[in-house]
């Protein structure tokens, strides 16, 4: 039988507010355990939460950017369960009346196929703390609790079960991450856990409407692992269904070392969270004026920016895609182009050498080669001061030392030689030293041209203007 996967995703995005959702403690990552806490986030007796207005604004931004309907009358709810990282014994979240509902995200898949994925709801909630089972790598007979993260604001974005493949799931996550990054509401860091994802997966025979029994997947902390975990889970369920084994509703964890999922708890063991409206927080009413103000302040979103890059800078769609994935790269591109109006050249350098140098860090904003460096260097190429080949050398040194391209070129005498008299001499010397090659070329062996050109470049230490050298060499070979 042919089975079709049905996938829905839940994204938990940590919001970039300065302070926590219900108190004034810092949200900064790290810190000595339990130093970024106060009686409120520690859940001490008698304390009360007060909602952070910025958190509401951040969720509103995300909701408006994904076409959601804003719920005017909002309620916080308590989700009750016991765990040592949850100091109050309940998490303040939203349940019956989430802040946003019924939105969507358009994915662009290969071959420019568009697919719309529905967003069921977005709601606000507080993060829990962290358990530490070992100190300095040693596990003793007690565990420790760090509550620094407790109360950091989270936004939970729940998709409709509209996703049909691991590829689509990853595309959805990438698009969503790009949006929250553009909105500057979340840094999107999956490894550090500030952008997390759970997946609900079921299979059904193709053509059937009714959903199969779903399994919830957790613990996937990179796009690659999301893709692999979903792939694995689809295969696992397909094998079971083909063997006539019933799928159990359960929560499974992805083990990234063994590359398989394993059961965490079954439906029977699932919590009854006993949600009810939190009496400590008054209903949050969002009026039209507030929505309008947030809407007016929305920045340009990735898709709009991509189109503008194509229209305004005339760069290919592929380049625009790559450059607009993150706001930082797009900002970098525009800053460089503003200084030296050669969009395609700037794009090539960013997509090539810069991306390679950044490798994993991806932090273009703190890269030693700033847009000023890059624009200055490309200008030197365009003026003919340095060759493209020398530019690679200059780039490497800029990345290493942060020095400006002009000073690197002057300090090291890398200025391109375009004096044809000097270059003619250099060519002649190479031809004199390689009479056999010259003979071969003249008898029709075109291939040796490359070798001779290389010899000429070497003799000018790479500084010879390549175009001029090429012309001179051809002329002199032609005799």
């Amino acid at each position: 039988m042919d089975f079709e996967p049905v996938i829905g995703l839940e994204v938990h995005a940590q919001m970039l507010t300065d302070t926590k959702i219900f108190c004034n403690c810092s949200t900064q990552f790290g810190g000595e355990p339990n130093t970024r806490t106060c009686p409120v986030c520690l859940g001490m007796p008698g304390v009360l939460p007060v909602a952070n207005r910025r958190v509401v604004e951040f969720v509103l931004k995300t909701a408006l950017a994904t076409g959601c309907t804003i719920q005017k009358y909002n309620q916080f709810a308590r989700k009750n369960y016991f765990y040592p990282d949850l100091p109050k014994g309940y998490q303040i979240s939203q349940f019956e009346l989430p802040i946003a509902t019924a939105g969507y995200l358009d994915l662009e898949l290969e071959g420019a196929v568009k697919k719309r994925i529905g967003i069921t709801r977005i709601h606000m909630e507080e993060d829990a703390g962290k358990l530490m089972h070992e100190i300095n790598g040693i596990a003793g007979d007690s565990s420790f609790v760090d509550l620094n993260r407790t109360g950091v604001p989270l936004m939970e974005i729940v998709s409709e079960p509209d996703i049909r493949s691991p590829r689509e799931a990853v595309e959805y996550l990438k698009t969503m991450r790009s949006i929250v990054q553009y909105l500057e509401v979340c840094d999107g860091n999956m490894e550090q856990g500030s952008f997390r994802c759970d997946a609900n997966i079921s299979l059904r025979p193709k053509g059937r409407e009714k959903f199969g029994t779903k399994v919830e997947l957790k613990n996937m902390n990179s796009f690659r692992h999301v893709e692999k975990a979903i792939e694995f889970e689809i295969e696992r369920q397909r094998d079971m269904l083909e063997d006539g084994i019933e799928i159990m509703q359960e929560t499974r964890l992805w083990d990234e070392k063994r590359e398989e999922t394993f059961s965490m708890r079954s439906k029977e063991e699932a919590h009854d969270y006993r949600y009810f409206p939190d009496p400590d927080l008054v209903p949050l009413v969002i009026d039209e004026d507030w929505i309008a103000a947030v809407r007016a302040g929305l920045p340009e979103l990735p898709r709009q920016r991509r189109q503008r890059f194509i229209d305004e800078y005339g760069i290919p769609g592929y380049d625009a895609d790559v450059l607009t994935v993150t706001k930082q790269v797009a900002d970098y591109f525009e800053a460089a182009v503003k200084l030296h109006n050669q969009p395609k050249a700037v794009s090539n350098w960013i997509m090539g050498d810069i991306m390679r140098s950044l490798a994993d860090s991806r932090d273009i904003a703190s890269f030693a080669v700033t847009p000023v460096h890059l624009a200055g260097m490309i200008a030197l190429i365009d003026k003919g001061t340095i060759s493209g080949k020398i530019a690679k050398k200059v780039f490497e040194q800029m990345a290493e030392t942060g020095k400006m391209p002009e000073s690197i070129v002057h300090e090291q005498g890398l200025v391109q030689v375009s004096d044809s008299g000097e270059l003619e001499k250099a060519v002649q010397a190479v031809l004199d030293a390689n009479p056999q090659m010259v003979e071969d070329f003249r008898s029709g062996k075109d291939k040796v041209f490359g070798f001779l050109m290389g010899q000429v470049m070497k003799s000018t230490k790479g500084k010879g203007n390549p175009q001029l050298l090429n012309d001179i060499l051809r002329k002199q070979l032609a005799g």
Binding site: G46, V47, L48, N80, F82, P87, G89, R274, P279, V282
Partner: protein
């Protein structure tokens, strides 16, 4: 011989203090000697704080000397042990918080400190304010100063008994379903529950968050007005506190009820109401009528559901509010738990008393999947109907007058094994909390056995001034508030 300082009201003592006729230190020592003389029989205090109080009294004297004194400067007050006091153990009447010392003050405590008040100690209460007799207190029952074999009422039994026995000048209590008014009634003192949101709940250890309110327990109505003026007002640390100007309530104390329309709800004069209580309350109504008030019969038809609604909503909120006492961060932890689950189960089993456990189970049940709609949600809907009853009644009257409790103080142990009959002690006070309204209890007579009887006056939202006005008017023409227990 002049009256002992400990027997004075706030306004009487304050006049002497501000005139520098007596010092705050003298006043405090008078109260301390009284506590030492009688608290062995009353047991109103869990934690006396005499050393702290002495330093506060000295500071108050300096302040008064600077001409910077206010109506509470140097006045010894008792604080219900449910209110967090920085550096002072706050137990909430429970073993689970036996050694809990908060690193912060409740907002009301901060306000009282700013006003220069002196804290004689933390008073006893039913565990987590769950009880109507003060017998669920982990640290032992409080005895009613009018009859030491009887209960003082609860849950603010310690505060009410301390005021009645002159073990303080006045006190703070909290009221979730009658916990200020019912003990005030049983102890023959004045107790005021303000409108929900009038007083900040920050630092009040939560029992049922949508019902809890802090209020004064005092020797007369004027004191209630003075204390309420100090503690009320918006607090940015409590989102449920109302952004509304808090007036000087003493200005509302006029001696004239001409034209005031008093609603008398028939649902509060029912079978089971002690005839002596009914008689005293009816006489009080007649007196107010004679003074010029207009008596209006009103109906609050959903009253009969109030106790049931309360015992779904309050335990539901409580089971969640009390989840934080898990042995992880502070408070009681069992010894040598084998694993996490054992630590939770044993710490909570050993740390909480039977009434608290009963309510945690009730609340957990009411919120559980499959029961939520039938219990918690339905109760919330009926709560709206009860609120509407009052709003409807206030279209034809200004205030509602009822008995505070169905009977005078009962014997210690009498209802402890019968939770349902205990729960009915709050039958006349619970609806006010469900509707968020202000209510006062003040003495309106005594039973044949010499036990105090309380009159309840309920106002519309934020109508504390009217409530105080009417109460003051009644009190000024009656002798009840001046009677003192013999403590024999």
């Amino acid at each position: 011989m002049a009256r002992e300082l400990y027997s004075l009201t706030i306004h009487e003592l304050s006049a002497l203090l501000l005139a520098r006729t007596v010092s705050a230190v003298e006043a405090l020592e008078s109260v301390i000697s009284r506590i030492e003389a009688v608290d062995g029989r009353v047991h109103a205090y869990i934690s006396p704080t005499f050393d702290f109080a002495r330093s506060q009294a000295q500071a108050a004297d300096q302040r008064i000397a600077r001409g910077d004194g206010g109506p509470l400067t140097g006045v010894p007050l008792a604080i219900k042990d449910i209110l967090c006091t920085e550096g002072i153990r706050t137990t909430c009447g429970s073993r689970i918080l036996e050694n809990f010392v908060p690193p912060y003050d409740a907002t009301v405590i901060g306000k009282l400190k700013a006003g220069g008040a002196v804290f004689t100690g933390k008073t006893s209460m039913d565990e987590f304010a769950m009880g109507s007799s003060n017998e669920t207190a982990y640290f032992g029952a409080v005895h009613n100063p009018w009859d030491l074999d009887r209960v003082p009422g609860g849950s603010s039994g310690g505060s009410a008994a301390a005021v009645a026995a002159d073990e303080c000048i006045a006190a703070l209590g909290t009221d979730t379903g009658g916990s200020i008014r019912q003990p005030a009634s049983l102890c023959g003192v004045v107790g005021l529950k303000p409108t929900y949101g009038r007083v900040s709940r920050f630092g009040l250890i939560a029992f049922a968050s949508s019902l809890d309110q802090i209020g004064p327990i005092t020797k007369d109505v004027e004191d209630a007005a003075i204390l309420l003026s100090c503690i009320s007002g918006h607090d940015s640390k409590d989102s449920t506190s109302i952004k509304r100007h808090a007036p000087d309530y003493t200005r509302a104390l006029k001696k004239d009820v001409n034209g005031l329309r008093l609603g008398i709800p028939k649902e509060y004069f029912i079978e089971g109401l002690d005839p002596q209580v009914e008689k005293a309350v009816r006489e009080a109504i007649d007196l107010l009528k004679a003074q010029g008030a207009e008596i209006v019969p009103v109906s609050l038809p959903h009253t009969e559901y109030a106790v049931a609604v309360y015992y779904l909503i309050a335990p539901a909120e409580a089971c969640s509010n009390l989840a934080r006492y898990d042995g992880v961060k502070y408070g009681y932890r069992c010894s040598q738990p084998g694993n996490l689950r054992e630590m939770y189960e044993q710490s909570r089993s050993e740390g909480f008393g039977p009434e608290v456990k009963r309510r945690i189970m009730l609340g957990t049940y009411a919120l559980s999947a499959g029961y939520y709609d039938a219990y918690y949600k339905k109760a919330s809907q009926v709560r709206t109907l009860i609120r509407r009853d009052f709003m409807e009644a206030f279209k034809t009257c200004d205030l509602i007058v009822t008995p505070t409790a169905p009977a005078p103080a009962f014997k210690l142990g009498e209802k402890l094994s019968d939770p349902l009959s205990m729960y009915l002690s709050d039958i006349f006070t619970i609806p006010t909390n469900l509707a968020g309204l202000p209510g006062i209890s003040l003495p309106c007579g005594f039973s044949e056995g010499g036990l105090p009887i309380g009159l309840q006056i309920i106002g519309n939202l934020f109508a504390e001034e009217q409530v105080l006005h009417c109460a003051y008017c009644y009190e000024q023409s009656t002798p009840w508030h001046r009677r003192k227990p013999s403590l024999a």
